[in-house]
C-alpha cells in the first residue's frame, strides 16, 4: 500500500513536470482558457444581467479544466507511442492504470490552476466578482471536479487510442462538452434526448455542485453522483486498458517501428 502510494506520487510529480515543461501544453493550459472565458463573458455581457454573468463566470472557470484534460488525455498514449516509451511502460510489471491515473491527476492539477487563473482574469479584466456563498463547499466541489475529471480522463486515454487519430477525437470532444456539461448554457435548455448524455458525464454533476455551493445551496447530492460516476469510469477504464494492451500485443501496435 505504501509502495503504491509512493509510486503514484512519484509518477504524478514527474508527469506534472513533463506537462508543465512542454510548450504546446503550457500554452493550451495558460492562454486558451482565458480566451474562452473572454469570449463567453463578452457574449453574456451584452445582456447586462448579473445572474447570467455569474452563470457564465462559473462555467468558464470549470471549462478550462475540461479542455485541458480532454485534449491532452485523449492523446496521452499516442504521445507515449511516438516517444517510444509506451513499450517500456507496457513491459513494466505495473498495470497501465497505475501509470495513467497519476498522469491524468497531473492534468487535473493544471486544470485547477486554470480555474484560479480564470477567476482572477474575470475579476481583473471584466470586474466580475463571483458571488460565492460558501467557500469551503465551493472549494470541495472544485476539487471533486478535478478528481472526477482525472478519472474520466483515464477513460478517455484508453478509449481514444483505439483510433489512430486520437488527438482529433480529443479536440472533437472539447466543444460538445462545453454544451453537454452545462458550462455555458443550462443543461435543461438542451433537447431532451441529449439529457442522458449530459448526465453520463461526471463533469456535468461537478459543474452543478459548483453552482449550488456558490449559490448557497447544498452540493452534496451532485457531489455524490459525480464521485460514483467518476469511479465507475475509472473501473471501466482499467478493464478496457487491459483489453487494449492485449489487443496491442496481438496486433503489434505498441511501437511505431
Amino acid at each position: 500500500m505504501k509502495q503504491l502510494l509512493r509510486q503514484q506520487l512519484v509518477c504524478y510529480r514527474l508527469q506534472l513536470k513533463v506537462i508543465t515543461t512542454s510548450w504546446f501544453d503550457g500554452a493550451l493550459a495558460v492562454f486558451f482558457p482565458l480566451m474562452f472565458a473572454t469570449a463567453t463573458l463578452l457574449i453574456y455581457g451584452v445582456r447586462d444581467d448579473p445572474e447570467a454573468m455569474q452563470f457564465a463566470g462559473l462555467g468558464a472557470a470549470i471549462m478550462g479544466m475540461w479542455t485541458c484534460q480532454g485534449v491532452i488525455a485523449s492523446s496521452l498514449l499516442t504521445r507515449e507511442r511516438w516517444a517510444g516509451t509506451l513499450e517500456l511502460v507496457v513491459a513494466a510489471p505495473t498495470s497501465m492504470g497505475r501509470v495513467l491515473v497519476p498522469t491524468t491527476l497531473a492534468l487535473s492539477t493544471i486544470g485547477l490552476y486554470t480555474v484560479v487563473a480564470t477567476i482572477l482574469w474575470e475579476r481583473w479584466v471584466f470586474g466580475l466578482e463571483l458571488r460565492i456563498e460558501s467557500w469551503p463547499l465551493f472549494v470541495t466541489s472544485v476539487l471533486a471536479s478535478a478528481l472526477t475529471l482525472a478519472q474520466f480522463g483515464f477513460f478517455l486515454a484508453v478509449t481514444a487510442v483505439r483510433y489512430r487519430a486520437s488527438w482529433s477525437l480529443g479536440a472533437a470532444l472539447e466543444y460538445p462538452g462545453w454544451l453537454l456539461c452545462g458550462f455555458v448554457i443550462p443543461v435543461a435548455t438542451l433537447p431532451d434526448w441529449l439529457h442522458p448524455l449530459s448526465w453520463s458525464i461526471p463533469t456535468t454533476w461537478a459543474m452543478e455542485a459548483v453552482r449550488e455551493s456558490a449559490g448557497g445551496g447544498s452540493p452534496w447530492r451532485d457531489l455524490l453522483v459525480c464521485l460514483v460516476l467518476g469511479s465507475a469510469y475509472a473501473v471501466l477504464a482499467s478493464f478496457l486498458g487491459r483489453q487494449l494492451v492485449d489487443s496491442a500485443r496481438r496486433h503489434a501496435t505498441l511501437a511505431l517501428t
Binding site: 509502495q3 509510486q7 516517444a83 517500456l88 513491459a91 500485443r249 496486433h251 503489434a252 505498441l254
Partner: protein, 322 residues
C-alpha cells in the same frame, strides 16, 4: 537450468496497403524459431535487416503475442505468466527513442524505478551506481532532450538494469556509441555474465558478437540457419583459411588465373591506395600460397599473409547462401 526456451515460435504481421482499395498483405516475420539459452550464458542472435530478430525478442519479452509456438523465460510462459516474466527481465533497444525528453536523466531513471518496482530504499544507491557505470555521472540533472545519441543509449542501458533483472534482452545496444564507449559497453555486458546474468544480444558488429557471445544463432528470413559457438560457426563454413596478398599493379588476367588454382574458392580485389590486396578464400587444408605467388610472377608483391576466417566471413557466407 534453462533461462530462455523458445519452441517453434512464429509470428505473422498483417499490414494494409492502399487507401481506397485496401488489400491486406501478410508478412511471416518469424517462421518456426527454436532455441535454448542456459543460465549465465551470453547468446547472440545475428541476422540481416528484417530477419526477425526484434520480432523474436518482442515475443520473449511479452510485447508481442506469438502467432503460434511457445516460449518460457526462467520457466514462466510468456503468454500465460506475463507478470512473472516481466519482473525478471530487462529490455534495452538501440536508438534514441524511449525516453522522456522533458525530464532529466535522473528523473527518467526515478520514473522507471517506480514502474519496475525497485524498492524505494534501494533506488538512490542503485541509480547512482548505474549512472557511474554508464558514465553519465555529473550530467544526470540535464534534460534528455539535450543528450547526444550515445548518451541516450547509455541511459537506456542504465534503465534496463534498474531492477537488477536476471535475464537481459539487448537489441542492438551498441548502435550509435563511439568506439571507446562501445568497448566499455562490451566490458559491461561481459561483467553482467560474470555476476550470473543471462543475456540475449543482437548486433550487426561481428567482432562484438565474436568477442562476447558464448553461443550464436544466425537467423535469416525468419528461420535459424546456423547455431553454435563462434568457433563452430567459423568451422561450419567451407572457407578453410583466407590468404591476403598485397600487390602493386596486378592485371585482371592474373586475378582470373589465381581463381583457377585448385583449392581457391574465390578471389576478391580490394583497392588500398597504390596497392591492390588480393583476398583468396581457400578450401580447408588447401595450400595455395606457393602456387599463387608463382602465377604472380612479374607482378610486384608486398606482404603475404594467411589468416583464419573471421566470424564476419562465416556470417556473410551463411546469410548469402541460397
Amino acid at each position: 537450468m534453462t533461462a530462455v526456451e523458445a519452441r517453434d515460435l512464429r509470428r505473422t504481421f498483417r499490414t494494409r496497403t492502399g487507401v481506397l482499395r485496401r488489400t491486406a498483405t501478410e508478412v511471416e516475420a518469424v517462421r518456426g524459431v527454436s532455441f535454448d539459452i542456459q543460465r549465465g550464458e551470453l547468446f547472440g542472435l545475428l541476422g540481416p535487416n528484417g530477419a526477425g530478430k526484434t520480432t523474436t525478442i518482442k515475443m520473449l519479452i511479452t510485447l508481442l503475442l506469438p502467432t503460434s509456438g511457445t516460449a518460457r523465460v526462467l520457466g514462466h510462459d510468456v503468454v500465460a505468466d506475463v507478470r512473472e516474466v516481466r519482473r525478471r527481465i530487462g529490455y534495452v533497444f538501440g536508438g534514441d527513442r524511449g525516453l522522456y525528453e522533458r525530464l532529466s536523466a535522473l528523473d527518467n531513471l526515478r520514473y522507471f524505478s517506480e514502474l519496475y518496482g525497485v524498492p524505494p530504499r534501494e533506488q538512490k544507491a542503485r541509480i547512482g551506481e548505474l549512472l557511474e557505470m554508464v558514465g553519465l555521472t555529473g550530467r544526470e540533472r540535464e534534460r534528455v532532450e539535450g543528450f547526444s545519441r550515445g548518451m541516450r543509449q547509455r541511459l537506456h542501458i542504465a534503465r534496463g538494469l534498474l531492477h537488477d533483472p536476471e535475464v537481459l534482452f539487448l537489441d542492438e545496444p551498441s548502435i550509435g556509441i563511439d568506439p571507446v564507449g562501445a568497448r566499455e559497453l562490451r566490458a559491461t555486458i561481459a561483467s553482467l555474465i560474470d555476476v550470473g546474468k543471462t543475456v540475449l544480444l543482437t548486433t550487426h558488429y561481428m567482432f562484438e558478437a565474436d568477442e562476447l557471445c558464448d553461443r550464436i544463432a544466425v537467423i535469416r528470413a525468419g528461420e535459424i540457419v546456423a547455431e553454435g559457438t563462434p568457433g563452430d560457426l567459423k568451422r561450419l563454413v567451407t572457407v578453410g583459411s583466407v590468404v591476403e596478398i598485397e600487390t602493386y599493379g596486378v592485371g585482371e588476367a592474373a586475378v582470373a588465373d589465381l581463381g583457377a588454382i585448385t583449392g581457391v574458392q574465390s578471389v576478391a580485389v580490394e583497392e588500398r591506395g597504390q596497392m591492390q590486396v588480393l583476398i583468396l578464400h581457400c578450401a580447408r587444408d588447401a595450400e595455395v600460397t606457393q602456387a599463387a605467388l608463382s602465377r604472380l610472377d612479374g607482378v610486384r608483391v608486398g606482404r603475404v599473409g594467411t589468416r583464419e576466417p573471421t566470424l564476419e566471413d562465416a556470417y556473410v557466407e551463411l546469410v548469402s547462401r541460397t
